[in-house]
């Protein structure tokens, strides 16, 4: 047994070391990346020209002369005066728009970290238009209950068989025909029945639960083509939900805003300066880069903002999160404009979500429960004045005024309110 202990210790120790190494590696790389993102990314990309030139291969182009580079980055205009040919050529090539000086803003070590990061080159883009993989993963998770249920049953049966075999072998080896002491515990029919029943109930429960959950996507959080943070927009910057999702007041769909609505603000906002953003996997996201993605869809050139018109835009292929079956009719305006229901009631604290996930399970039980409990705007909305009987009963106290007139009371749980 002691052998085992030492083995475990060795294993744990080496694992720890490996982990710490990988962490420390990460730390350095992250550092350079973070510095790049917060200082350079507004104008530079690694692999593409943006406001400034693409930075990949900078060191080679500068003949690995880090000192020159340091000087250039700290104060470009001053460095130009030294008459460096490459720098002057570059300046002319980029229409004589100088880079803003970083003297004092960046330490030498930090500049080196950035240069190291740049030297490592482009990493494959973390996100893209394809939400499929993430979505599929998400899906598998939500359906796992069924799988687990079946697995439990199968494993239980295997275990039973193995125990059986084991015991049989034991019995053969230890057979004592004379010392036989009645039926073994596992052979007792009562016990077997109880066990089978228990298995049946647990298995049945899990299967049913899994089956009911089929097609439901609570917590579904796909990767979107643009990392759009509701937290930044609706939370930090307090933009009204209806500014973008105006359809929620007008009709059936809340509607994802069209690109021209995004551009109303982003024509002026070209970079992200808020707190660091991270995606669902904990990876850091460069907000400015995401804005650049929007510009690409919009066909917008930040250098030439005035010549932009919304006709140049191409639609963004967002991944749909909330999805109701075809036989369900749901109308946003009924809930938002008439029922005065807060967006958060169904969508959760959206203003705190960076990436949106499905908050409610959108099941019929969930709908119906809300309809049972929610009061309609009985006194405020003139439509309900026709329910004279209920108005009288409210006045006379026949209907509990604290409970009020619920949606259910006026027929809100009937089939053809949602299914037609």
């Amino acid at each position: 047994m002691t052998n085992y202990k030492s083995l475990t210790k060795t294993f744990l120790f080496s694992a720890l070391i490996a982990l710490s190494i990988s962490f420390s590696n990460n730390a350095v790389a992250q550092d350079g990346k973070a510095l790049f993102n917060s200082n350079c990314a507004a104008c530079h990309k690694l692999d593409k020209d943006m406001t400034g030139p693409a930075l990949q291969g900078t060191l080679e182009r500068w003949n690995n002369d880090r000192q020159k580079l340091h000087a250039w980055i700290k104060n470009p205009m001053a460095f130009l005066k030294t008459g460096d040919k490459y720098a002057n050529d570059l300046f002319i090539k980029w229409n004589k728009i100088p880079m803003s000086p970083f003297d004092g803003a960046l330490k030498d070590a930090e500049i080196d970290a950035i240069l190291d990061y740049i030297a490592k080159g482009v990493q494959p883009a973390a996100t893209g238009g394809d939400g499929k993989t993430a979505a599929a993963g998400q899906k598998a998770e939500s359906d796992n209950t069924l799988l687990y249920g079946i697995l439990t049953v199968v494993l239980a049966i295997v275990a039973l068989i193995l125990i059986n075999v084991n015991k049989n072998l034991k019995r053969i080896t230890e057979e004592q025909p004379e010392g036989y002491k009645g039926v073994a515990f596992w052979k007792n029919k009562t016990n077997i029945t109880v066990a089978i029943l228990a298995l049946f109930i647990v298995g049945g429960y899990l299967t049913t639960k899994g089956a009911i959950g089929l097609g439901r996507n609570q917590n579904y959080q796909p990767t979107q083509p643009i990392y759009y943070s509701h937290k930044v927009h609706a939370g930090v910057n307090q933009i009204n939900c209806l500014y973008c999702h105006g359809g929620a007041e007008e009709g059936k769909h809340a509607n994802i805003p069209s690109v021209n609505v995004c551009m109303n603000c982003h024509k002026a906002i070209h970079e992200y300066t808020g707190p660091a953003l991270t995606d669902a996997d904990g990876k850091e996201v460069n907000g400015t880069e995401e804005i650049q993605k929007l510009f690409k869809y919009a066909g917008f050139n930040p250098q030439d903002a005035n010549s932009w018109s919304a006709d140049k835009a191409k639609p963004i292929q967002w991944v749909q999160i909330h999805s109701l079956p075809d036989h369900v009719y749901f109308n946003h305006s009924q809930h938002v404009a008439v029922g005065k229901v807060q967006c958060q009631t169904c969508h959760g604290e959206i203003e705190k979500m960076d990436e949106v996930k499905q908050f409610s399970d959108l099941s019929m039980g969930w709908c119906v429960n809300c309809h049972r409990e929610t009061k309609v705007q009985f006194k405020d909305n003139g439509f309900y004045s026709i329910y004279e009987k209920y108005h009288n009963e409210l006045k006379s106290g026949k209907i509990d005024s604290t409970k009020g007139i619920t949606v259910e009371k006026i027929g809100g749980t009937e089939c053809q309110k949602c299914h037609y």
Partner: protein
């Protein structure tokens, strides 16, 4: 004796088959023989278990699959006035071959999905017809031509517009005489475009050709009024209407307008029990004849004699040339009624004979109709073609003097009687250009096709009658590479403007008191003198005309008539119209030989008074095929027996036998065309096309052909077998004597259960449920309803009701949520007819609800009988228990909405056509598309009710009538259907119910408490309806 009502001959005889069929909801036998037991069945119990196991496993597998990632793609740049998910409405105009109806198109997310009438139109006041309702489906017709092309050797070669324009302009320049051939065009700006074109090519002319010719009427007007035109008719000003073969409620001139006017004279209430009187003379049972107060049957060749006699009697002389005593009495009766109401009388005639129409004009002059019921101040522009013009063109073509022919919409190669001569003429024309939007028969003869837009993709205007302008604006971006024909003409006449610019310029000066935007938004602009004026009558032609009228002939005669849905072939490619049961014959998908019960006995050897024979005729869909020899040509068609047809006359509908390229719906199951084209049987007499043929030889063949009749589907009976409990009528005399006749009848029926007033409470041991807030109700005035069927197609379009195809209709699987039951009463040979729209009655005590094992159908607090498709497991108990037989079962996957392709195995082309991606664009996204195995039925358009309530809630006000309307009521040209909130005493439905003692509920004594009420039909005859 109780008056006998009957839907079928079986019912008339109370035959065995009728008794059996009225017992069973579903006509097919169980899939096993009950005597032998389940194991001997085609699908025994073990198979059932196998299927059950498989389906469970399959469903589990299907359900456990990953939910696919769906994209939600917003607009790139959303137009300000479009909110995805919210419908927009655009006023435009339905135009087809001169038919002009102002409409409003409902556009949802860029797709027009429903057509409504434009209520601003003073002519139609929001009425539509079945064809107007169905026209939206034509937009998504896969058989439309998709690009401009040149044809050689029957093969199309796609061209660009630039290339084909170049080729055509060059060809036209050297062509010599150019003829622009079209059906009636009543668009003032388009006529201007044509004039520009004609000016560019001096040796050219415009010829109008109408398949359903009104040349006789137009020429008669020229002879007597000096105007080569058709006046506006004012049926609403007429107290007495006499029609001699003019089917003005279905197909004659402008039926939507006339139906509205006609219904005005039929609106009758307790305070003012007066209504118009309608005499109808006809040869083959028609919709208008079925609505007449008095119908008289005659031979087609007697038309002239009847008109002449009427004229002669009105002048104080006697009936001439009429042998039939009944007919003679009818003429005298009609003449007397007309003479009594001079200035408030109208005589119309469907004949295309100039002489006959001249005499009709003379009669109307005698009756002082001119300026009262006939308005010359505003002439109708719906038909302008003169047959002689076209006949001359055919001669010219044969003489080789036509260099180029441009065809628009006119389809003479299908509808001109002398096809061979036309063909030889066409072969001599060098340049043949078709602007039609389909590869119809004439287009196939052309070498160039530059397809036109559908009207929902076009700009334009129309002038249905002088001064009544209606505008056309596009509601969708063109689906295919098509171009408006006006643009094509402008291009070819080297104009620099496009048609839109041309149209705007044309109107800027002409719109008085209205702007272009306003006119376009309304869709209507009226420049009307409003006062009916007279035009001087020139009587000199009358005596000559009378002398020239042909005397009646003997022998069997044939009349070619139009069906309300198919017309002269325009509706043939539309599955909604093909499946619409003809109101008169109740047949779908075919044309056939209409024979009278008397001729059935002599020709078909079917004695309808014999139960066995009438059953064998009615129960078996295959009908005897008759060979018809007329004008030297022979065709074969199955025979249907339709009462109300003259004993020695037979009728055949035109518009069938179309070329396969017109669409999938014109191809039958066996790959042949649906029906037979009978236009070649017509002839030209005195310069006008004559659709009546005498000396017809009929011979029964050994063959049989199945006709998909819906006549005996969904029979509803009462335990007492009294039809008066289903449908009620009375005569005007009875009503005037005592307006409470119907009420008293109901009191007598319900007397045992507390009478009318206490029936709800005392008829049941259960307490009635409360309906606080809203309670929906519908009232249908049987006196206004003329059975035209526009509501049925409207319901199709609004509620995604599937098309099932002929083989399925033959198996009683038709899916209409709303049907129009046709009841006969009286004389078997010339019965009275009542049309009763029958739909889910939304019973408060619904028998269907009690028997559903899964509560898929239940009642709402607003009085709706709700049907929840996703809960339905298809036991069909509800359909069995429905006393009105209005529930429909999806026997197959008609809509392609479920994932097992086998569920469509037995369906035909038409159903698959409805499931193409293009055609499915017409589906209403607010209504679930049902899949196989569920029951469906009328929902009172619940999606509209919810929408209407939401509108009121958003405005924070109580619901008003304008917020909600159901599709059937909205489409009705006669305003026969009123819908609304019964709990609101101010609503029109409450008033309609309160104000009329004619109110009754169908099968009221059952205590099912229907929410659909009817107003009894009043017949303006002397005889009592109940004897």
């Amino acid at each position: 004796m109780e008056k006998k009502y009957w839907q079928s001959f079986g019912e008339l005889n109370n035959s065995e088959a009728f008794q059996k069929s009225s017992k069973d909801e579903f006509k097919e036998d169980l899939p096993f023989d009950p005597k032998k037991g389940l194991l001997e069945a085609k699908t025994p119990r073990r198979d059932f278990l196998k299927y059950l196991g498989f389906t469970t496993a399959a469903a589990a597998v299907a359900a456990s699959c990953e939910v696919p990632v769906k994209k939600a793609i917003p607009f790139a740049n959303r137009p300000e006035d479009i909110i995805p998910g919210v419908a927009n409405y655009y006023a435009t105009t339905y135009v087809q071959d001169g038919d002009t109806i102002s409409v409003v198109a409902k556009v949802r997310d860029g797709r027009p999905i429903k057509i409504e009438g434009n209520e601003l139109s003073p002519l139609t006041k929001g009425g539509t017809s079945a064809r107007v309702q169905a026209s939206v489906l034509d937009l998504y017709d896969g058989a439309r031509l998709r690009f401009p092309a040149t044809y050689s050797g029957g093969k199309a070669k796609e061209q660009t517009f630039a290339a084909i324009d170049k080729e055509i302009t060059e060809a036209l320049a050297s062509a010599g005489n150019i003829v622009f051939l079209s059906s009636t065009i009543n668009s003032p700006s388009s006529l201007e475009v044509i004039n520009q074109f004609l000016a560019k090519y001096p040796a050219s002319k415009h010829i109008t050709y109408d398949a359903d010719s009104y040349a006789g009427l137009i020429l008669a007007n020229e002879a007597t009024y000096g105007k080569k035109a058709i006046p506006s008719y004012k049926f609403d000003n007429a107290k007495v209407i006499v029609s001699i073969g003019a089917d003005f409620l279905a197909t004659w001139l402008s039926p939507v307008e006339f139906a509205r006017q006609y219904s005005k004279g039929k609106k009758i209430n307790d305070a003012n029990p007066e209504m118009s009187k309608h005499f109808h003379f006809e040869s083959v049972a028609s919709l208008t004849g079925s609505n007449a107060d008095d119908r008289f049957l005659h031979r087609p060749s007697e038309t002239g004699a009847i008109v002449a006699s009427l004229y002669s009697v009105l002048q104080g002389n006697g009936v001439t040339n009429i042998k039939d005593a009944k007919l003679k009495a009818g003429i005298e009766k009609a003449a007397k009624a007309l003479a009594d109401k001079k200035g408030e009388a109208l005589v119309v005639c469907g004949s295309n004979d100039v002489n006959i129409q001249i005499v009709v004009n003379a009669i109307n002059e005698l009756l002082l109709s001119n300026g009262k019921t006939i308005d010359w101040s505003s002439t109708s522009n719906v038909r302008k073609g003169v047959d002689a013009d076209f006949a001359t063109l055919v001669d010219d073509m044969n003489a080789g003097s036509v260099g180029a022919l441009i065809v628009l919409d006119a389809n003479p190669f299908y509808s001109w009687y002398d096809n061979a001569k036309l063909k030889s003429g066409l072969d001599k024309v060098k340049v043949k250009i078709s602007l039609s939007s389909k590869a119809d028969e004439t287009t196939q003869q052309c070498s160039y096709t530059v397809p036109n837009h559908h009207y929902l993709e076009s700009w334009g205007d129309a002038e249905a009658s002088t001064g009544h302008y209606s505008f056309i604006q596009p509601t969708i971006y063109p689906l295919f590479k098509t171009r408006q024909w006006q643009d094509s003409l402008l291009k070819w006449s080297a104009a620099t403007n496009d048609y839109l610019a041309f149209l705007k310029t044309y109107w800027t000066t002409k719109l008085i008191g209205s702007s272009w935007d306003k006119a376009l938004q309304d869709g209507i602009f009226v420049k009307d003198s409003a006062v009916a004026t007279t035009t001087s009558f020139n009587a000199s032609a009358v005596n000559g005309a009378i002398a020239n009228i042909q005397p009646p002939k003997s022998g069997i005669e044939l009349r070619l008539y139009q069906k309300i849905a198919i017309g002269s072939g325009q509706g043939a490619a539309n599955p909604w119209l093909q499946e619409l049961p003809d109101p008169v014959t109740r047949a779908t998908w075919d044309n056939y030989l209409v024979v009278s019960p008397a001729m059935a006995k002599t020709l078909l050897n079917i004695d309808l008074t014999n139960s066995g024979q009438s059953d064998s005729y009615e129960v078996n869909p295959p009908k005897k095929v008759v060979s018809i020899k007329a004008n030297g040509k022979t065709i074969e068609l199955p025979a249907l027996i339709i009462p109300g047809t003259h004993p020695e006359t037979v009728g055949i509908a035109v518009g069938y036998g179309r070329d396969k390229k017109v669409g999938k719906t014109v191809v039958d199951v066996d790959g042949k065309s649906v029906g037979v084209n009978v236009f070649p049987l017509a002839s030209v007499v005195n310069g006008t096309v004559n659709f009546d043929i005498s000396n017809v030889e009929l011979k029964v063949t050994d063959k049989k052909y199945p006709v998909a009749l819906t006549q005996t589907h969904n029979l509803l009976t009462t335990p007492q077998g009294k039809r008066t409990e289903v449908v009620k009528e009375l005569t005007l005399g009875e009503y005037q004597k005592n307006t409470k006749v119907i009420l008293e009848e109901r009191e007598a029926e319900l007397g045992a259960w507390g009478g009318v007033k206490n029936f709800r409470e005392e008829g049941s041991i259960y307490k009635p449920y409360d309906k606080p807030g809203i309670k929906w109700g519908m009232s249908i005035d049987l006196n206004s309803c003329n059975g035209c069927g526009s509501c049925i197609v409207a319901c199709h379009a609004e509620n995604n009701v599937p098309v099932v195809g002929k083989p399925e209709v033959l198996r009683f699987h038709d899916m209409h949520w709303l049907r129009i039951d046709r009841y006969y009463t009286g004389d078997k040979d010339n019965p009275n007819v009542i049309f009763q729209p029958m739909l889910c009655q939304h019973c408060d005590n619904a028998p269907c609800e009690n028997v559903c094992p899964v509560a898929a159908t239940n009642h709402s607090s607003e009085g709706l009988n709700q049907m929840t498709y996703n809960r339905c497991i298809g036991t069909r108990y509800c359909a069995n228990n429905c006393p009105y037989k209005v529930r429909r079962f999806n026997w197959a996957d008609y809509t392609g909405s479920d994932s097992f392709p086998n569920n469509q195995d037995e369906l035909n082309n038409t159903v698959h056509y409805m499931n193409e991606d293009l055609t499915r664009m017409v589906l209403n996204p607010d209504v679930t598309v049902r899949s196989r195995g569920v029951i469906e039925k009328c929902s009172f358009c619940v999606q509209r009710l919810q929408d209407g309530k939401l509108k009121a809630k958003k405005a924070s006000r109580p619901l008003v009538d304008e917020d909600v309307n159901v599709a059937c009521a909205q489409s009705c040209p006669s305003n026969a259907i009123v819908f609304g909130n019964v709990n609101n005493p101010e609503s029109s439905i409450s008033k309609a119910r309160k104000d009329s003692n004619r109110l009754f509920y169908s099968l009221e004594f059952l205590h099912v408490m229907p929410n659909v009420s009817y107003l009894a039909k009043v017949r303006n005859t002397e005889e009592s309806a109940n004897v």
